[in-house]
Symmetry: C2
Subunit: 344 residues, 2 copies
């Protein structure tokens, strides 16, 4: 194998058959490999520039958070009923309404009469009752966490806010869950803080794809007496070893609840690594935090009405479904809103 | 059905059974629906703020493009062989090399001898031959477009650059394909321009998720005589109707080629809508443009070595694969780099 001619012949053969990229690299002359290494060094430098880019994007997000806030404050006021929207503020023409208008007069009249009859005796609750709780019910990722005994508590949830870390501080965001006064705990706000990192990993710089959540912190919930749903009390009979007498003791053990969200595991920062179950739990927690920040808080009403959920579903089913349609329909009726553009 | 009590009872029943979000909304009192409409109005305003955010992100991308450029220029020089990297510039310790070092001395010696033998007679081509062409071969989305007769042309490709539109101009980017002088065409640069839109759709503002590619433009390729691979000449026998004589005519018809990338369809801007085949073709084209800009140009070396392709594969297989692993392995050897963080 040390005969260079044999090597060269082998290289030629490797070169002419289909091959995996990495085996192709192996066949290249040393001088070329050296230049590839130089390209890799440049690539690491690019990853560090990219990290700075994402820090600036984070600054932009902070700036825009301030621009969204007045609208989110208004949203909160409409939801709680503190403020009633004006007629102009609540105008909305949905596609269905347009269709209704196009339908015959006769039908319209019936609809109006029905509506009027309903309005006369219809209750007028304050604001939009159970707004946030309904979102918890609509979003699978959240409803999976919510136990029956969490539900009456979540009905007191009045707002969720995202607060970004101050400029110059380590990158992070806080989810604030604002509750109205309730019988369960005395806190008015429960918080969950997510710490992020925008820095290529030294051991694997090429895997860098932007900021990641790396750790999180909860808060202490000041439960009112007997109201803590995150623990349950179990009774246990205990036999005294010497005397043989039996006594019943009560013991508090952890209980499944959404409110465990505020008492998360800690990511191992001190070299101790988590077991796989814990890693999985933590990964799910990070995903939920990310989802609150990226989707639910910015588009709450669409998760309340379900519009965002339908969109998410459509998106997942995606291209395959579309292809099937292409074969079936000779003449699409309403195809001009097909998703033909990749999101940039 | 006009009896409000019946309606209320019905609503209660609807409320207590599992239901789709939209049917739930139907059951709500008119006053609440009105407030939901107000929330939707606010949501549209949020979408417009988000559009401005993405415009600023685009400005940031432009700023960072200037920071990457010196590194990309260096990359080009190493690839073409115009500049040879210094020893410091080409230092690289891969994981495999570390493993090799850990292996016994004996084996190391053999490896070194082999390498030296190889070096002695090894060719030293200029730069990194066929760098960009190899990327075209490695990336499925591109290799599908490349015909055998495109290959010798693509071997002359020396650089791909992304140029962003100037500030204040409509959002767009240009892909520049730089070729060395060759026997096929006289252009030194072929360009493909992608026009983008960062603006919520009036008819469907909630679908807005950031800038989209909405149209593209190619360029004229000045083919040298007989070298145009995007057309083929076919011979056709023609019979004169009156005289019955037969003559052979030649006709140029379109031919499959990667270089049709520079002669794309136009998105319908003038109300005429494309047929489904054309929409599909255009959507694929936009996806390729996006992929060049987002992945290939910024990380070319990783698509050359295949590292980025493995990553893409891992990413697609994603979570399901991981779960299986969790069940199988009792004690992962090397699990601390498991992807537990959602990308933000």
């Amino acid at each position: 194998m040390q005969n260079p001619r044999v090597l060269a012949a082998l290289q030629e053969r490797l070169d002419s058959v289909p091959h995996t990229p990495s085996s192709y690299i192996e066949t290249l002359p040393k001088a070329v490999k050296r230049r590839i290494n130089a390209l890799k060094q440049l690539q690491v430098r690019c990853a560090h520039i990219e990290a700075k880019f994402y820090e600036e994007v984070h600054d932009l997000e902070r700036k825009y958070a301030a621009l969204y806030q007045p609208l989110f404050d208004k949203r909160r006021e409409f939801i709680t009923g503190d403020v009633e929207p004006t007629d102009a503020e609540s105008e909305w023409h949905s596609e269905n309404e347009e269709e209704e208008k196009l339908a015959g007069d006769m039908k319209n009249k019936v609809v109006i009469t029905e509506k009027e009859a309903a309005t006369a005796e219809e209750p007028n609750p304050k604001g939009i009752p159970e707004f946030w709780f309904t979102i918890f019910r609509n979003v699978d990722m959240l409803s999976e966490l919510v136990q029956e005994y969490d539900e009456p508590i979540l009905k007191h949830l009045q707002d969720i806010k995202v607060k970004f870390s101050d400029p110059g501080q380590p990158m992070s965001f806080v989810l604030e869950f604002h509750f109205e006064p309730n019988d369960y705990f005395t806190n008015s706000v429960l918080t969950k803080t997510y710490k992020m990192k925008s820095e290529p990993d030294k051991a694997d710089p090429f895997s860098f794809e932007g900021p990641e959540i790396v750790d999180c912190d909860g808060c202490t919930i000041d439960w009112k007496k007997g109201k803590n749903v995150t623990v349950k009390t179990i009774k246990k009979k205990q036999k005294h070893k010497g005397r043989g007498t039996v006594r019943t003791i009560t013991k508090q053990v952890p209980n499944e609840s959404f409110f465990n969200f505020f008492n998360p595991l800690k990511a191992s920062g001190d070299g101790e690594s988590l077991d796989e179950d814990s890693e999985f739990t933590l990964a799910s927690d990070f995903e939920i935090g990310h989802f609150f920040r990226e989707r639910i808080v910015p588009r709450a009403v669409l998760y309340f009405t379900g519009e965002a959920i339908e969109d998410d579903d459509n998106f997942e089913e995606g291209e395959e479904g579309e292809e099937e349609e292409l074969e079936g329909d000779e003449e699409g009726e309403d195809e001009d809103d097909a998703e033909i553009n990749p999101k940039v």
